[in-house]
């Protein structure tokens, strides 16, 4: 079971809070919008990701429900 992050690009306003709270996983593009890897979130970052999602001013950072690992 593992979590993934997703950004709602319509509500995201490039505040950059997520990249500040989760720099190990999220970086910003030249325009200040988060680049979120499509890979599974490392287990030790899940709590930080929750904080980042809650801190987003537009609630644009989404944590997808755990999915079963394939293979």
């Amino acid at each position: 079971m593992s979590y993934r992050l997703r950004v709602n690009p319509i509500t995201c306003d490039a505040h950059g809070v997520c990249a500040e709270l989760l720099p190990e996983f999220i970086r910003l593009d030249p325009w200040g919008y988060p680049i979120v890897p499509r890979a599974d979130l490392p287990a030790d970052l899940v709590e930080h990701a929750r904080l980042a999602a809650a801190a987003c001013p537009t609630l644009a950072l989404l944590i997808d429900r755990p999915r079963r690992r394939h293979g």
Binding site: N8, P9, I10, D13, A14, D29, P30, Y33, I35
Partner: protein, 430 residues
């Protein structure tokens, strides 16, 4: 502005969608019924869906999703469904949907009614761009005639949407019909789960529905008599550029690109590259494209895309980079202004492409383009930004020697040629 459209008898196969077309005017209800006979609605909805699934019909709007599977998921919804026929044809180089709606409106409307029957819809819309006023009026009259004749259990409502490129996207149409702005929304939920007013909604391209009208009449075996087993049926294509007889043609799915171009009288000048799939497609060197079948899988295998069946021939005297730069500029001005990577990334990509094409890249423009592409791709709510990046990336591949020349030396002579790819007037001036 758009491709020249002339009525042509499609070479190669007997016309299906375009059967019964007359040079003296659009097919009215009488002519339509004389050609195709009545639309049978006595089949059980599930039977109709099974038939469509067996036919192998996939969407003709560009994405190529299996129509039967889409019908089934909408029919499985708990609430009463909605059917939306997308006739807004946002692609400037495509003319086939307008052609079909103009000349064979009742075939599309039969398809809407067949689809409504299959999914148990209680509402049905036919969507066009606002600016298509004359076509809209003609379709309204056609819908009236059908109501008088009592053909459609669910009356078809003709609706205009704003002219912006991204408003043709299915989630934008759904949001607009629900009373919101005509802009794409963040998925999931997708329209078949929660569409117009939260109801399961079938959004299909008008050509797809016209095929559905024929499958409901003649069955899946008949549909598969044309085309390949893996990509059956016929399709409409729009051919333009340096071609002897530009226009809309009906071909068997899987007809090689070169054969289609020979049907259209052959190239008017030696071709350098071919843009297959329109502005959501990709440039292919002419000799690469020539033998490739007009089918989703075959074109994907060579780095292309079928899209909505658009084929544009670029002559050797034109500059593919200049053509691409103008189109990317246009696409950058047609964003829905919702998602940052698209809203800011596409103008940056357009600037870099224009630098490369027209201003001499100073040895860094091609690299700049290549750097921007992965920063934009896949980061919008809809596929609009991905279309622009795919086009730009394919231009760098297909015109690599030109790109190197532009970057080191400066613009080639081709940039002075009259633009070949249509870009609607509102977005000109780059």
């Amino acid at each position: 502005m758009t491709a020249v459209v002339e009525m042509r008898s499609p070479a190669g196969i007997r016309p299906r969608l375009l059967a019964g077309l007359h040079a003296d005017g659009p097919t009215d209800l009488v002519g339509h019924e004389l050609t195709f006979g009545p639309l049978p609605l006595d089949m059980r909805p599930r039977q109709l869906i099974d038939t469509v699934e067996r036919s192998g019909l996939v969407g003709r709007g560009g994405a190529g999703f299996p129509t039967g599977r889409k019908l089934r998921s909408v029919a499985d919804g708990r609430r009463a469904a909605v059917v939306v026929a997308n006739g807004s044809e946002g692609e400037p180089a495509s003319a086939k949907d307008r052609f079909l709606l103009t000349w064979a409106p009742h075939l599309v409307m039969d398809g809407i009614t067949a689809a409504a029957h299959a999914v148990g819809a209680t509402e049905a819309y036919l969507v066009l761009h606002h600016s298509a006023t004359r076509l809209g009026a003609a379709l309204q009259a056609a819908a009236e005639a059908r109501n008088v004749a009592g053909i459609d259990p669910v009356p078809i409502q003709v609706v205009g949407i704003p002219d912006r490129y991204t408003s043709s996207e299915q989630s934008a149409i759904v949001q607009y019909l629900s009373g919101g702005p005509a802009r794409p929304t963040f998925a999931p939920p997708r329209p078949h789960e929660r569409g117009v007013d939260g109801r399961p909604t079938l959004v299909n391209n008008v050509e797809t529905l016209a095929h559905l009208a024929l499958i409901a009449r003649f069955g899946d075996h008949w549909f598969r008599e044309v085309g390949a087993a893996s990509a059956p049926g016929s399709m409409l294509v729009t051919v333009s550029g340096a071609i002897t007889r530009p226009g809309v043609y009906e071909i068997a799915v899987g007809t090689p690109v070169g054969q289609l171009l020979m049907m259209a009288g052959g190239p008017a000048e030696r071709p350098r590259a071919i843009l297959v799939g329109g502005y959501f497609g990709a440039w292919l060197p002419a000799e690469v494209a020539w033998p490739v079948p007009m089918a989703h899988a075959a074109l994907r295998a060579v780095g292309g895309a079928l899209g909505a069946g658009i084929v544009i021939v670029l002559p050797e005297s034109s500059c593919g980079l200049a053509e691409t730069a103008r189109v990317v500029r246009y696409l950058s001005e047609e964003t829905a202004e919702q998602c940052g990577p698209c809203m800011f990334g596409l103008p940056a990509l357009a600037d870099a492409m224009i630098d490369l094409a027209f201003h001499g890249g100073r040895r860094r423009a091609a690299e700049q383009v290549a750097t921007l592409i992965p920063l934009i791709e896949g980061r919008g709510a809809c596929r609009h930004p991905d279309g622009a990046t795919q086009l730009a990336a394919s231009a760098l591949r297909a015109f690599r020697p030109d790109a190197e020349w532009h970057d080191r030396v400066g613009p080639c002579l081709g940039v002075r040629r009259r633009p070949l790819l249509p870009v609607p007037a509102s977005a000109e001036g780059s």
